[in-house]
């Protein structure tokens, strides 16, 4: 069914990004209000939307990541202003991170349904790698804009790595395990990266 309908990029892919962004904006606003992190701008100790847009990226390819990117920028901007710093920092960081997981999943041909040991290992390994890449990016941007100094760069990267990985595992794993089968049977599932 999927191969019959999915020929290149269709309006459906744009809808995926728009709806993912709409969902994640609200979750991001909740996350910032519920678990704020003193000392870090527009950050949350438990970034709930990460769990969603990581899973949505595994289901819907780059379109899920794009939705996460728009959501983070809009939500963080709502609190900290729509600046170039915020866009580069959280916005672009949250676009790169799920893409890293997606590329690892597609390269290793792992299944988001997490059926085999290989799928589980891919999920358990790829999420911390993505969080580390994102943490390195986010705090390098903070450093480049003069928000933090080099000694605080390491602290930021380590806390980001731990906090983000925990949120993705806690929120994302049940979503993958319970809904992947349902999504794979629907016409919106993206097998590759773009379509």
């Amino acid at each position: 069914m999927n191969s019959e309908y999915k020929k290149g990029i269709t309006p459906m892919h744009l809808v995926i990004s728009g709806v993912t962004a709409g969902v994640c904006i609200v979750l991001a606003l909740f996350a910032i209000i519920l678990v704020p992190v003193p000392g870090l701008p527009s950050a949350s100790g438990f970034w709930i939307p990460a769990g969603f847009y990581f899973v949505f990226t595994l289901w819907f390819g780059i379109w899920g990541a794009l939705g996460g990117h728009i959501a983070t920028f809009i939500a963080m901007g709502y609190f900290s202003g729509y600046t170039l710093h915020i866009w580069l920092d959280g916005g672009l960081g949250d676009f790169i991170a799920p893409l890293v997981t997606l590329i690892i999943f597609r390269a290793l041909k792992a299944d988001p349904e997490l059926k085999t040991k290989k799928d589980w290992i891919t999920w358990i390994v790829s999420v911390p790698i993505s969080s580390l890449v994102c943490g390195l990016w986010v705090h390098s941007v903070n450093l480049a804009f003069g928000i933090i100094t080099p000694p605080f760069w390491w602290i930021g990267v380590v806390t980001y790595f731990l906090g983000d990985s925990a949120a993705i595992f806690i929120v994302g794993t049940p979503l993958l395990k319970t809904l992947s089968k349902y999504v794979k049977a629907s016409p919106v599932y993206v097998e590759g990266i773009f379509s």
């Binding site: 459906m12 744009l14 990004s17 728009g18 809009i74 202003g81 710093h85 100094t149 979503l175 919106v188």
Partner: protein
């Protein structure tokens, strides 16, 4: 009479409403990049004053910025903590030497002030432009820049979906409370567990919505590469085009001034005052 924008209300006869969205987007980019390139605290302070002055000129109420106040304080304290405890900026007087080798000089304090003005200038400048735009401005601005209409479509859809998702969230949450679910009681971990139970039905609703909207969009003949017609005319005139080019040219000009003429570099003008 006032117009409702994303962040505030702007008087209908304010000159900012006459500025083309492309000019606003280029100003947004320029303010952010120029503030990023400049290190001189005096110049950054002047930039900050210019932006505040523009709020007066365009009669944009500053109360719309109230919600950014807490975040600004958080970012400023992050800058202060980071530089006080983690920097080595040489100066004439050293006020504090920390056990891990960093120190605080008068230049550290000046640098903190410079970085604070850099961030507040970016914040106020961005809000001045983006905060006074409507969703229509963004969509037409994107198309005027010859960026794909798809991008404007995604942004608009995400804003529309926010409201729908909040309704979904309330409905699912209420249903779970009626079945004995507790969201306000319990430890942090228990609360997280409850929110995970909430996440599954919300994800299902989001997937169903993607399918429904996709069919609706396809049924209406929406195509990614199809040529479109527009209800409003946002074509850019010569005056706005020249203004856009001038605003964007300020970015390389600032860069050249910084690299070749060594101006805008910290401590800049203030070093002459200290001598």
């Amino acid at each position: 009479m006032a117009l409702k924008t994303f962040l505030t209300y702007v008087p209908k006869d304010s000159k900012i409403n006459k500025i083309h969205p492309v000019v606003k987007v280029s100003l947004l980019l320029s303010i952010n990049i120029i503030a990023w390139l400049i290190e001189d605290p005096i110049i950054l302070f002047l930039l900050f004053l210019i932006i505040i002055f523009n709020y007066k000129i365009f009669r944009i109420p500053l109360y719309g910025l109230k919600k950014f106040l807490l975040s600004t304080i958080i970012i400023l304290q992050a800058i202060i903590v980071s530089y006080i405890f983690g920097s080595k900026i040489p100066g004439k007087n050293i006020y504090l030497i920390l056990p891990w080798g960093t120190y605080v000089s008068e230049m550290t304090i000046i640098y903190i002030i410079a970085m604070s003005f850099r961030f507040t200038s970016m914040l106020l400048g961005s809000t001045l432009m983006l905060g006074t735009m409507r969703d229509r401005d963004i969509i037409y601005g994107v198309t005027c820049l010859h960026l794909p209409y798809s991008l404007a479509f995604i942004i608009n859809l995400s804003f529309r979906n926010m409201g729908i998702f909040i309704e979904d969230y309330s409905r699912v949450r209420d249903a779970m409370i009626l079945r004995g679910g507790k969201f306000s009681k319990g430890s942090f971990l228990e609360k997280i567990k409850n929110y995970i139970y909430l996440a599954i039905p919300l994800a299902i609703l989001a997937i169903r919505r993607i399918i429904e909207i996709s069919y609706a969009v396809e049924a209406k003949g929406f195509g990614i590469n199809k040529k479109r017609s527009y209800y409003h005319d946002y074509s850019i005139n010569l005056k706005n085009l020249i203004l856009t080019i001038f605003i964007l040219s300020l970015i390389p000009l600032t860069f050249i001034c910084k690299i070749y003429f060594k101006i805008f570099i910290f401590p800049g003008v203030i070093s002459m005052l200290i001598k």
